[in-house]
Amino acid sequence: MKMLINVPERVVADALRGLAAAHPDLLTVDVERRIVVRRDAPVAGKVALLSGGGSGHEPLHAGFVGPGMLDAACPGEVFTSPVPDQMVRAAAAVDSGEGVLFVVKNYTGDVLNFTMAAELAEDEGVQVSTVVLRDDVAVSEDGESAGRRGTGGTLFVEKIAGAAAEEGAPLVRVASVARRVAESTRSFGVALSACSTPARGAPTFDLPPGELELGIGIHGEPGRERRPMMTSGEIADAAVAAVVEDLRPDSPVLLLVNGMGATPLLELYGFAAEVHRVLAERRVAVARTLVGNYVTSLDMAGCSVTLCQADEELLRLWDAPVRTAALRRGR
């Protein structure tokens, strides 16, 4: 698999250099230590939001650093959780004294590394609260596995809790908003092709021409079920059914129609139309729709659907201004 890279070992560092070059108004990047920090951090009187995870999901998380969203992001190697040192250092850099919320996707690696980091940061006097995303309904919560993955829902938590922090809410409140979003959010993903990590240079799994994977995560792993190729409408039927039957929303939802990286926007918008059709059939009202490649798996072709049941407050916070590399409004 050809890639636009120098050498596999340097992809993350190279991307961080590019991020620094492209967004000097927005970000400070410590390429060596792999920390991306909001330019004006620490912001006095504001709770800080910190997230991170393996690289390869861009724009998540570094693309969401900025006013109204994250204060810091800690990118790990491709598909590999960052190490505690990054989070500890970043927490120290963004903490204004009001404390830091860790936004963590539920993967063993992320949870273990963030847990260690929280302990170390608290040893250094930083107040830490953690929210763990488990939005992927493809995984069952029967205790027979590491549990539901954090996927597209992360964007909703980072945006909405970020807005609450920007408004000046204290840590307990920001954390409770974050948890409320996390609990109100569900996702389901589909792969049409596997992705290739730079280190491996070949697709992470074989997906024959006529087949797709239902219930994938965002790490190039195979899904729960392989099926003969489906139309956009059939995929929307399956994905929305999985999400809605788990979430059972009774108020309008925020909808993220997310591309996995290599699916053209032309196809993604067509898929968004089918998702809207299915939601209408199921009498689920859509308050807001976001379409794009936001929580990706390198060059995987495919998509995911995330719904967040939003009350008035969450909706207001979703609509609040934000200024980041990948999501911007009102600033």
């Binding site: 260690m116 027979e144 729960r224």
Partner: protein, 227 residues
Amino acid sequence: MERDRAQDGGAPAGAPRGAAGLDADFVVRWLTAAAAAVDREADRLTELDAAIGDADHGANMRRGFRAVTGTLAEDPPATPGAVLALAGRTLVSTVGGASGPLYGTLLRRTGGELGTEAPRVSSAEFAAALAAGVAAVGALGGSAPGDKTMLDALVPAAEALPESFDAARRAAVAGALATVPLRARRGRASLLGDRSIGHQDPGAASAALLVTALAETAAEAAGSPDD
């Protein structure tokens, strides 16, 4: 399966003869051998992880163990406990993923049990410390043997270690191979459900490499008492 008989009480057979137990140098040589094995087998580990994980275990382990040998070469601590603690901290700081905190905890806790003072520890003390380290891995990961993780190699190895280093090696290798038919209950592979069945767990495979390196280091030390 045939097992070596323990030769003297609780001390593993094949432990360095002559010298009163294991010193910092022994641990450094073990970790250096482990790093070489990981380097050599990194692609295989990554392939195993590609099948039921995210294709990075080889790269993760290589990155971590290169850092460990680098750190130890620069400024090697004087006691086996301190070497292990430093190596564990290095793994935590460089590996990431699930394996970083887990292997980091394994070495840190093993080192912690030995303490930073003693310049030499007996094979029995070492075996007990390693057992505590392995237990800490299970506690951190919320996992147990049979979950198709590194514990399936580490737990039998720790149990066999009082018998002999080579028994530990054989137990680890057997434990790793025995993960093939298991359904993963922890870590990334568990997200695949039944599709995790039929593949060897990459962390169990790397654990077998580490224990093999330990046994080989012990055998070498036993073969060259004046080393």
